[in-house]
Structures are given as C-alpha cells and as structure tokens.
Amino acid sequence: MKYALFLGCTIPVRAQNYELSARAVAKELGIEFEDLVDFGCCAYPVRSASERAAIVFAARNLAVAEEKGLEICTLCSACTATLTEVNEHLKADENARKEVNEHLKKVGREYRGTARVRHLARILYEDVGTDTIKSKRKIDLSSLILAPHYGCHYLKPSKVYGHFDSPENPRTLSELIAATGANVAPNIPNSCCGGAILGVNADITLAMAKTKLDSALSSKVDAVVSICPFCSVIFEDNQKKVEAKFEKEYGVPVLFYPQVLGLALGIDEKELGFRMNKVKPKELLAKVSTEAA
C-alpha cells in the first residue's frame, strides 16, 4: 500500500498534529507515503475566481502523482473533492483534457488520467479495513464517547465518489471510530462547518459552528472527531470566538481521526501531536491512560 501524500496548504503549516498522527498510524498499519515536493495548492480557493484556471491547476497536481505512478492520499476534504472532481471531469471529457494538456505542456507536464484520489479515511476503510484495525488494537478506548463530524467534501459531490458512502446517512467514519473501541455518538448534524465563508462573513460561520458545538455538548461527548483541517480550524481554533460571541462555554476537544486511531494502536501520544490541539483534551487523555495502565 503506497500512496503519494497530498498535504495541501493548511495541514503542513497549521495542523501538523493531523500530519504527524496520519504518518504515525500509516507506518503502524503498513501504509507507505511518498512526499512529492512539486505538489502545490489543490486549486480549491481558485475555483470561485476561475474554474478554468483551477482545472489546469488541479490537473498539474494529478500529473505530478501520475509521473510517479502513484495513487494520491489526501488528508483535507476540500483537496479530496477538488482533485477528484477535476480528475473525473477530465477523464470523461476528451476536449477538456486536450485543452488542459495544451497548457500543461508549456510547464512540462502531461495529464493522462491514471492517478486515483482518495481521502485517508476512505483508504483506511477500504484498503486497511476495520477488521485489521480491530486486530491491531492495543488500547481499549471504550471509556470514550466520540462524535463523528463528516464535513462536506469527504462525501460530496457523491457522483464523483462512486457513492462509496451515503451523503445523507454516512457510516464509514462512524465504523472507523467504532473499530478503535470508542463509543460512537450521533453524527454532528448538517455537516457543513462554514469554513469556506469564514473570510467572507465570519458571523455566519461562527453561528454555524455554534449549532455543531451545541450538538456535541448535548451528546456529552469527550471529543468531536474531524477528518478535515478546515472543519477543525472552525470548531477548534475558533471555539473561543464562538464562546465569546454567544456567551457560552464549550470546551469541546476536536481531534483528528488518526489521533484517535493512534491512541488505540498504542502509539505514544507525543507522536500524535496532541500538544498542538487548541482545546486541550486533558480529561480524554487521562481516561485513556487509565485504560492503558
């Protein structure tokens, strides 16, 4: 199992706890990552200004992976959707492919449509499998209640993902959480974090985040489990702002799934980047270390 690891923009400078934990669990589960230095921004933010440029931009990333003959493993859901949508569009439309390649030729690249793109959570679900995760589990997380937050682009637009999970009633992340031994709380509802419009209208985004944090609070969860850096930036980095705006205390930890999986696999919490979490999951880690003892 070898993949080109696509980090995108946010993770390698703002969410290294996601990157560290993803690399650590991959190693433990026999997944090999290759880092390709020529990967850039996936093109997501460019789409609203110029879809035409964004398509070439995304195709360049796909071409970089194709040159190595590798499938792309993404960690960010927005990267996953952008690269997958462009890949599926270009595979199906010969004229669009020709136009893109005329541009790419001038920067020394060629898009052929041979690289697959999948999110790490999907790879864990499909290629590693929950049975393998269960069999490699070293620490019991049954004292924890965790709420999956699927976000949007891990599942949607569902037409480009071959309907591997339901956009209305998703279950893959819930099953991955259950495989760690933790209790799965109901999904955080109406899953959009509002991250895409944080810079356009922060008031709306913070109000959207509030509805999700309210749900986490009422389910009495130990943490929300995210698989996208955008969602985590909204729920975790902006949680203080939500608290100030709505005069309500939350203190809800937001963990990346590989951090949770890493704990279950018995990986040292230092290697999973917990100290970089903004809402400190102290109580949760204390519960886990009691289990381990």
């Binding site: 923009c9 946010t10 390698p12 400078v13 509002g194 895409a196």
Partner: protein, 172 residues
C-alpha cells in the same frame, strides 16, 4: 419621506436580460439551470440560509431565470455559498446548484466583482502556489518535528495563471 422607494427597490422589466439564463447554461456546471421548478428544497436544506436569510439559493436561481443579471452578479450574496453541496445532492431536478453558484461567481469576476477576501487568497496562490507562505522558519519547525520540508513558491503555478488568462483578475 421615510418609506419612499426608488427604482433601486423594484425590478424593472426593461432591466431584465433575457439572455442571462442562456449565458449561465452555456457555462460548464450551469447546463441544467432551466430545469429549476422552484420547489425550494435547496433553500430548506441550506446550512447558511438556516443562519442568515440573505443567502437564498432558490431566489438566486429565480433571479437568474428572470434575467436579473446585474443584481445577481454585483451582489454580496452569491459569495455566501459555502460549497457544501447539500442542495445539489437533494435537488430533484439536477440543477447542480453548487456548480451554478460557482458559475455565477466566475461570471461576476469577469464583470469585475471579485469578493475582496477571495481576491486576496487567489493572489497569494497565484504568486506562491500555496494559500499560506512557507518560510525558513516553517521548514525549521517541520524539521524539528521530523516532517519533510515544503517547497516555497511555484513557477509552474504562476505560468498557469498567465496561460489561462486568470492572471488579469488578480493584477494589483
């Protein structure tokens, strides 16, 4: 008088652009806009609309079909779509609403209405190839964590902006 309305408050028939819906439907992603039968599933499902009534996808599509080109393209509200695809997944007429919103944003940009926040992001990507700068400090920090270095700047990306003509939208 406090309640006096001006032309700005009304839709004037002679301002409507009958070609607008055809222009939208010619763009990749806008093809199905004319199938909308205004059921409102999009608006009822929208997580942004649930917070702020300023954003109303059914109304925006209706405005497009009526030909209210200027009011749509110069508006603030098209930039409030959070691209979550919930409306698109649920639309019984396959209007492709999220994609239509993106088409409208692209058309607005061509008319000179690029949202300032998005403009800053796109400028940054056009010049550096990434949304966030990666400097020596970042790479030193990554090295300390045992993470591989990132490349700062990308000539290929700059060139793609020129080749596709998108550079003219981000000129300072």
């Amino acid at each position: 008088m406090e309640n006096e309305k001006t032309d700005q408050d009304y839709t004037l028939v002679n301002e409507l652009n009958q070609d607008f819906k055809y222009d939208v439907s010619k763009q990749p992603g806008g093809e199905n806009i004319k199938y909308c039968f205004a059921c409102g599933t999009c608006t009822a499902s929208c997580p942004v609309r649930a917070i702020d009534a300023k954003y109303n996808p059914r109304k925006i599509i209706r405005m497009c079909l009526l030909g209210m080109k200027e009011r749509v393209l110069a508006s603030d509200f098209i930039w409030l779509c959070s691209n979550c695809y919930t409306c698109q997944e649920r639309c019984p007429q396959d209007v492709g609403i999220t994609e239509v919103m993106n088409v409208l944003k692209n058309m607005a940009v061509r008319e000179g209405h690029l949202n300032p926040t998005i403009l800053r992001q796109v400028r940054q990507i056009a010049s550096k190839g990434r949304l966030f700068d990666v400097d020596e400090f970042d790479n030193a920090r990554r090295k300390k964590m045992g993470l591989p270095p990132l490349k700062d700047g990308c000539e290929e990306v700059r060139r793609i902006f020129e080749l596709t003509g998108a550079d003219r939208y981000v000129e300072e």
